[in-house]
Structure formats: C-alpha cells, structure tokens
C-alpha cells in the first residue's frame, strides 16, 4: 500500500503525460503480483467496493485528537483525507497512552537527551544543578554531531517487534470487498496505524472513492502495455475480458504467458479519430474521394451488443477512450437489440430535434440517473459507422462499404432512439463550404444548431485505431471570436512552469466604477511558441501587482494587450462575475495593433448568448 501510495502521490504532482506513463510503468515493473494488478484496477476505475462515508473518517479522528486542534488543522489543509492522514497519531509504544485525546505521544526519547531527563521532572521542581549539567556547550559544526541522537520524525516508521507490517494494496482491496459495514471503522483504524502518512492519505482517498489524480484508464493501460512493449490497442481489445488482479495480462506482458483472449460478448474497439483540416490541405484532396457528414456536437460513443455464452444479449456503451458508460444511459440499452458495434454520437433529442451540447451536458456526470432525468433529457444515438455486424468484423472494409452495412443495420433495427447520420452531398469544396456555413439549408434543417462542422471521410478508408493521417478530417464551423484584454497571467505547469502561459482576459462593461473590464474567461493555448515568448515578455514587463503565482497585468484603455479569443459556445454562468462562461476558449491572435479601449464589450457576448438560446 505504501508503494502504491507513493506512486499516487508522485502522479498527483506530475503534469507531463509521458512522465506519468514512465512512473506507472516503473511501478508495474517493480511491484509484484497481485499488488500491481489491483493498482491497475484502481487506476482504471475497475475496483468496486462500498465506499466509506466522510462521517466515518471524521468519527475516527475525533476519537483520537483534540477537536480544537483538528478544527484548526482542517481549516488549514482544506481536505479531510489529507488532514486525517497527517494528524493520525503515531502509534505510541506505551499503549496506555495511545488513546488519550491528544495527537502527540509523550516526548520521544529519540528527541534528545533533555527530553528523557525532564520527563522525570515536574515543571516547578526541577533542580538547578541538573540544569547546569544539561547545558553543556556543544562543539561547533563539524564533528561529533548527531551520534545516536534524535532523528526527527524517523520514529514514525520505527515499528516495535509486535507491530504488524503495513497492509499491501491487495490486503486492502480484498478485505474491503468482503468487510461488513460494522467492522469497517475498526479495520480502517488498524490500517491507519500501520501505514505511513502517504499510505494513510492514499488509503483514505481509496476507501472514500475520492481518488482524483488526473490519470485516465487509457493512460494506465498504455503504461501496462509499455511494460511488455505491446501496442496499447491490444490491451484495449482484450481488456473487457480481464479482471483484477490481471495475472494473465501481466504474465503476457512479461513474456511468461499467452495473450489473454477476450471472451467479452460486447467488447470495445479502439476508435478512429480525425485530423483538423487546414485551408492548405484542400489543394491536395479530391472531393470525389470523400463522403461528408455533419459533425454533431455531442459525445462520441461506441454502442456494442453481443450474445454471451448463455445466449443472452449483452449491450454496452463505451466512451471514445473505452470507458464503460452504460450505467449513465440505461434508457438506450433496450434499443441495442441486434449484435453489432455502432460508432456514433450521443445526443439529446426533444421532439425529434437535436439539442445543443449545453443541454446534453446536464445529463452527464450524474451519480443517479433518475426517471426524471431520463424523461427530460431523452437520449439518442446518431450512427455513422458500423465496426461489427453480428460475428463479422467490418473494420477492414472501406468506409463506403461499411456505410452500406450501417444503413441496412439501422433499418433492420428500426428503433426511434437510433438513426443514421445523414451524408452531406457536395461536388466541390465550395459547395461543402457553403453547406458548412449554413447547415440548416443544406440538409441539417432544424438540427443545424447541434452541427459544429462537417466530417470528411475517405471512401476507401478502413477503420483504423488512433488518428491515421489523411483518412478522416474534421472541418469545424468558424468559431466565435471576440477581442478581449489580458488582465491576469499565471505560470503554466511542467515545461511551461517558467512561462506565464495561463491568461485571464476581460471585456468592457459599464460597472459601478464606470467603464471597467470584467473577466470573461481563461485560456492557455492557441498561441504559437513564438507568441508565448512574446506574451511572457509582455507580462513580465507590465506587471502591476503579484498575488502568489498570479500576475496582475496592466489593462487600461490605452495600455495593455488585446487578445483575439476564439471559442465554441457560450453559456450563462452564475459562478462567473460576468454571468457568462465560454466553451473551449483559446487565443487565436495577438492584437498588438489594437488599443484595449477598442476591445469588445460584455453586451456583445450577451447578444451572442441570446442568439444561441433563442434558436
């Protein structure tokens, strides 16, 4: 557990994907089965046990610490698991002392000779003679120091002979699976006694189900693949057939066993992704080679159904990264009646009309999918590809042929929740451009609002995992653009930690103090490396105040930097002072030429908001 905790701790601070990958791979290499398997399960979200409530953790710490000290500490740290992990009393050697209401054990003899001595003296009756013998001059730095003398907190890890070793991750996971609710507090306390600080922190995060460390299941699987120099796609393919602690997987990765077979009746297939098309790309592309479709502003999913060993139909919905999201959309499951694998877009349809992403978003990340939610946000699958039809793998077929299979499949399915993503007819890039600019008059009709551009797919392209060059292109509609003024800048992370690369920008409004800038968003990409250097230089030379890592950058009507900000959509947001929140904002241009007074106004954004909601 301590080793796994160390990994989590390190991952929590590491911003770089490749470095995270190496940290995880190194852990898999150094950690024996079955611990590493349970770690992989924890990182991929494949562990399941009943989570402990925060109240339980509070009770445990309340029994062991002074409430005032706990309150002050919690205020300072701001995170329950971490506060408890840090404050958890060291197991005292004298057990009669251990459960008193104080976090600190009696002064440890390890902390200096004086400590030992005065423990025998009561404050008021100390002997003056003793003082003299205690305050012997010590030599200056250099020699004779620290021999067998106190070692700070080392006693934290010093365990007596009778203390059991800290639990392994496997101990924790297997115990939690079977442990009754009433036994949990005692067991948890025992583990907390045995673990070090990082171990306690990780344990508490694990049992409360609050392990947010910025690792995707995909990254964890990729790290495992790197252990055996395998293609991560291969792991994705067999993944649904595997179960923790993945002994067969690690055996295969280390060359000690055969590749595990996926017996899952509804497996995930790695998805094919598109490149963003640039103006210059069109010159070399032939319109006749491509089929165009609308690019829907929903969620990319893979809907798979198949019969298990007993002949029962199993249906699953996967995200584009292969996460099983079936539970979030139980209303779609009955529609997946035919064995096959559909690649498509998840949308919310009301009265046959596609709703915007903002509407769909309200169905996401809900713990409980209530009947009301299902009724208010009716889910729909718009199909654009077919990867498997019953037992047949169609991925090797050219897209045009798969499309024909798909049309037949959807017709046979004949379900109101699943329809076909229509193709867009065009004979030249100009006509397609016109369609993209005005989807409603080019076939998208009333759904035009949920169209965020067009997709171009080569007629002869097989279904290839990843983002193969030149096969699929996405051609988004022009984003919304405003001119905003740079207000604050913050340092980036990782490679960018020496650059001011996170920018808060604002637009003008008539506020209490007259004309003033109000922040409307934050962006940290979109600029080139050269532009980053320029902005960074500007920030350093025009800082008016510093608040920790944040710099307040000059933003007066005649002084400041105007940023052209592109974004995909707007939403009302009571959390933002401006009342609006942007979707996907990025810096599209630096307007050195423009004085800040000429930047856009909040009213412009509010008008855009009206346009969006009115449609």
């Amino acid at each position: 557990m301590n080793r796994f905790a160390e990994l989590l701790d390190r991952l929590a601070y590491e911003p770089g994907r490749n470095n995270k990958l190496r940290l995880i791979t190194a852990y898999f290499r150094d950690t024996p089965d079955p611990d590493r398997g349970y770690a992989l399960a924890a990182l991929t979200g494949a562990l399941s046990f009943k989570h402990a409530k925060p109240g339980l953790i509070r009770d445990l710490i309340a029994d062991r610490t002074d409430p005032v000290l706990f309150g002050l500490s919690y205020d300072y740290v701001g995170d329950l698991s971490e506060t408890v992990a840090l404050m958890w009393p060291r197991r005292a050697v004298n057990h009669d002392e251990s459960l008193l209401g104080h976090p600190s054990p009696p002064p440890s003899p390890a902390r200096g000779k004086g400590a030992q001595f005065s423990a025998a003296l009561s404050p008021r009756t100390k002997s003056k003679a003793a003082i003299d013998t205690l305050t012997v001059p010590s030599p200056l730095a250099g020699e004779g120091q620290g021999e067998g003398y106190h070692t700070g907190g080392a006693s934290d890890e010093q365990r007596g002979h009778n203390n059991p070793p800290p639990p392994t991750l496997s101990d924790v996971v297997t115990t939690l699976r079977t442990l009754g609710k009433t036994d949990l507090p005692k067991q948890l306390a025992r583990w907390l006694d045995e673990l070090d600080e990082t171990g306690r922190w990780a344990l508490l995060k694990l049992v409360t189900g609050a392990m947010r460390i910025g690792i995707s299941a995909r990254l964890a699987k990729t790290s495992a693949a790197a252990l055996g120099d395998k293609d991560p796609h291969d792991i994705e393919l067999i993944w649904p057939g595997l179960a923790p602690p993945y002994l067969d997987l690690f055996a295969w990765l280390e060359g000690r066993g055969d590749k595990p077979v996926n017996r899952d009746p509804a497996p995930f297939r790695p998805v094919m992704l598109a490149h963003a098309i640039e103006d210059a790309d069109f010159a070399s592309l032939e319109p006749a080679d491509f089929i165009a479709e609308w690019k829907w502003d929903g969620i990319r999913v893979q809907a798979v159904a198949g019969r298990d060993e007993r002949g029962q139909m199993q249906a699953r919905l996967y995200s584009r990264t292969g996460e099983d999201i079936t539970k979030s959309f139980p209303d779609l499951v009955p529609s997946l009646r035919l064995p096959g694998a559909i690649d498509g877009e998840l949308l919310v349809l009301r009265d046959g009309r596609v709703q915007t992403f903002n509407v769909l978003q309200q169905r996401l990340n809900r713990k409980v999918v209530s009947p009301k939610l299902i009724k208010d946000f009716p889910i729909h699958l718009r199909a654009y590809d077919l990867l498997g039809d019953d037992e047949n793998d169609l991925r090797e077929l050219p897209f045009a042929e798969r499309r024909a299979h798909l049309e037949t499949f959807v017709k046979k399915l004949d379900d109101p929740r699943i329809d076909l993503s229509p193709t867009v007819t065009f004979d030249s890039w100009e006509t397609l451009m016109a369609a993209r600019a005005d989807p409603s008059s080019a076939g998208a009709g009333e759904d035009a609002e949920a169209v965020e551009g067009v997709m171009l797919k080569r007629r002869d392209a097989p279904y290839l995992p990843g983002r193969p060059k030149g096969q699929w292109w996405k051609w988004k509609r022009d984003p919304h653009i405003i001119d905003a003024v740079l207000m604050y800048a913050q340092r980036g992370h990782g490679k960018r930690s020496s650059y001011y690369s996170d920018y808060t920008f604002g637009v003008w409004t008539n506020g209490e103090d007259g004309e003033q800038l109000v922040p409307v968003g934050k962006a940290y990409f979109g600029f080139t490396d050269e532009e980053l250097l320029q902005i960074d230089r500007f920030v350093r030379r025009n800082t008016t105040e510093k608040f920790g890592p944040v710099r307040h950058v000059v933003h007066e009507p005649d002084q400041g930097l105007v940023l052209e900000v592109a974004f995909e959509g707007l939403q009302r947001s009571p959390r933002h002072k401006s009342g609006v929140a942007m979707r996907f904002p990025r810096i599209s241009r630096l307007r050195w030429d423009k004085p800040p007074r000429e930047a856009d106004r909040l009213e412009t954004l509010e008008r855009m908001l009206k346009d969006v909601t009115a449609n």
Partner: protein, 359 residues
C-alpha cells in the same frame, strides 16, 4: 550558572518574566539588559539568534551573536552591517546590564542559537528558530531547562510532522534514476536548507558534482570553510544544457519557476521545505517533487521540546500560535501568543534576491 547562584540582592525579587523580556515594535526588548533580541528595526544593542534575514538585519549599533551568524551578516550586508560586533560561543555566558545571557545551539542553521536570559531567579529562553532533527551541517539542538520558553510556531499545527529527511532525499535520488535524461532542480533556501540537502545527498552516497545557482554560491562556500563537508560543487552559470543532463542543481525557491530554469533539460522541479507536507501548498507552487525537509521543528518536535524544557510558561511567536497555545493550555501550562511582527519564513525575503539573480 543561573542568576540565583550569583547571590544578588533581592530588591527585584518580585520581578516577573515580562519585566525581563517584552515584545515591542522593534522586537523582543530586554530592558534590564539594555538590548533587543532579533530586532526588526535598527537598535542600539542587538542580540541575534541566527543569520536568516528576518532575524539578522543590518543597521544596529552593537551586535552580539555567534561567529557564524556575524560572518553570515557580513556576507549578506557587507563589512559595515553594524557599528561593532562581539562573538559569543555556545555555552558562553555574558553579563549585560542586570541580566546574564547564554547561547545554546538551536539546530536550525549553522551558528543558530537559543538565547537564555537570566535575571535573579528567572530564566527565559528565546529559542529563535529551532529544530530538533538531525542536521549534519550544524550543531544539534540542546534542550535548555527554563521557566519561560519562547518558541516559534512556524509548523505549529499537528498536521506538520516531518519524516526522516533521509527518506526525502532517497525520493529525489529515485527520481534521478527514473529520469536520467532530465535535470533535477531543487528549490531550497540559500542559507541552511541548501547545504543540508547537499550534505544529506552525500550521506546517501551521491558523489556526483552538485550544481548551484549563483545566489547560493557564496554562503555555501562559507559553510565549506567552516568544515562542513559538501563534496564537489559547481556553478550552473556557464554550463551548457547538454551538460546538465542527469544532474541535481540547487536554487533559491523563486528561481525554480523562472526564466533561469530554461537552461536545464526538461527539469523536474523539486522543493525542499516543511511546507511541502501539505499538498495544496506544493501544488500551488507548481512543484513536481515535493521534499519534506524542514529547518524548523515539526509539531511533535515543538511539543516535545516545550515539555522537555520544563517551562511552566510558554510564549509562542511567528507561525500558528493558536494551536500551540491551545496545546500548552491543555497541558496545564501558562501560554500566550507574542505579538511580534516581521518574522516568517525566509521565503518572502528570498523572492527578491532570486529575481535579481540573473534574469
């Protein structure tokens, strides 16, 4: 050696602790002794615990401190940092006015001292900043029994429990082994922390050259001149990026997130500080490898030390006074926070120095 043994007359026998030491705007004032301890404003006579810039400031008349502290002040502020100076050794006792003053090792940085001020039969120990953990670069902390103990509270919350610093250094070395093509950049305060980290690395058997930011070269060389073994040290300045592959470099904390870092190959940013115990603090600073290495006592160190001094009264200053005062009271000790301003981590004062370093 206490005032009692000197058999002085008893006309001041009703003297109370705050008649001996009293917090005033300039710092802790000893009226009967005619001096201030670690004054934050220029005073006639200053007694100084250690060389960190929030405790040792220039511009006083006479300064009494250990030789190391005086040397550090000279390095920092130049030869004329005070009108006159007097060095005192650990264990040495000096009479100042109606009080006697005795210095004891504080274990904080090289030359750091606790100052025991005795008057009649009352002994007050102003401990300055201290730590009770092992540090190969300075004399170990001595527990000084006293009636009133003045303690810092930088890490005065029970969440601050610093583990063995050697384990933190092992963490750093494990990272160096895992990322051999990157440089490891360790933020550490120039005075004390940097040298301790180097010494800890050497204790772990790391014998490659360690690289230093320009701002910490002088003070580190001073440590070496006082017999602290630190192995081979090199300046970062003038090195090519390719030459810094796989190296460990130390720099003042602020420099680790500034333009200066661009000379390193894909650096891993570490920070050696007791604050790294709290994740949000580490994340806020963009630290990738937090190393919990502190030159202050942690919670257990503070409470164990207070108990060990046998003091019946505790004055708590700079840091989390509330929690420590509460703890003292719960143990039946008289305790109060001292209203002293101007002390803190070196952090604030180093920010400026680092920015100026070489941008």
């Amino acid at each position: 050696m206490t005032a009692k043994h000197r058999g002085q007359s008893t006309y001041m026998s009703d003297m109370r602790p705050h008649d001996i030491l009293l917090p005033v705007a300039a710092g802790l004032c000893c009226k009967p002794g005619g001096f201030h301890i670690d004054p934050v404003r220029p005073v006639e006579r200053a007694v100084i615990t250690h060389g960190h810039s929030d405790h040792a400031r220039p511009g006083h008349g006479a300064v009494l401190a250990t030789q190391e502290t005086l040397d550090m002040m000279r390095l920092r502020y130049g030869d004329n940092f005070a009108r006159s100076t007097q060095a005192i050794r650990y264990g040495e006792e000096i009479r100042l006015g109606d009080v006697t003053v005795k210095f004891h090792p504080a274990g904080h940085v090289l030359g750091s001292a606790q100052i025991a001020v005795s008057c009649k039969d009352i002994c007050i120990v102003a401990s300055g900043d201290y730590k009770d953990a092992t540090d190969p670069t300075c004399a170990p902390f001595d527990v000084v029994p006293c009636d009133v103990f003045i303690t810092e509270a930088t890490f005065g919350l029970p969440v601050f429990r610093h583990g063995d610093a050697a384990d933190e250094v092992k963490k750093l070395l494990a990272s160096v082994a895992l990322f051999p093509e990157r440089a490891h950049l360790v933020g550490a305060y120039s005075l004390g922390k940097a040298q301790r980290v180097i010494a800890l690395l050497r204790e772990q058997g790391y014998d490659a050259p360690i690289y230093l930011h320009g701002a910490m070269e002088e003070i580190t060389h001073y440590y070496q001149s006082r017999g602290v073994a630190l192995g081979e040290l090199r300046a970062v300045k003038g090195m090519k990026k390719a030459d810094l592959v796989g190296t460990i470099a130390l720099a003042p904390p602020e420099a680790t997130s500034d333009i200066w870092t661009r000379r390193f190959p894909d650096p891993v940013t570490a920070f050696a500080s007791g604050w790294m115990r709290v994740r949000a603090r580490a994340r806020q600073r963009g630290v990738e490898l937090p190393l919990v290495i502190s030159d202050h006592a942690d919670w257990d160190g503070l409470t164990a030390t207070i108990a060990a001094t046998g003091a019946g009264e505790v004055w708590v200053t700079h840091g989390q006074e509330d929690a420590l005062v509460h703890w003292c009271k719960s143990r039946g000790l008289a305790a109060r926070p001292l209203d002293l301003v101007g002390y803190g981590d070196e952090e604030e004062s180093e920010a400026v120095a680092a920015d100026e370093a070489d941008t």
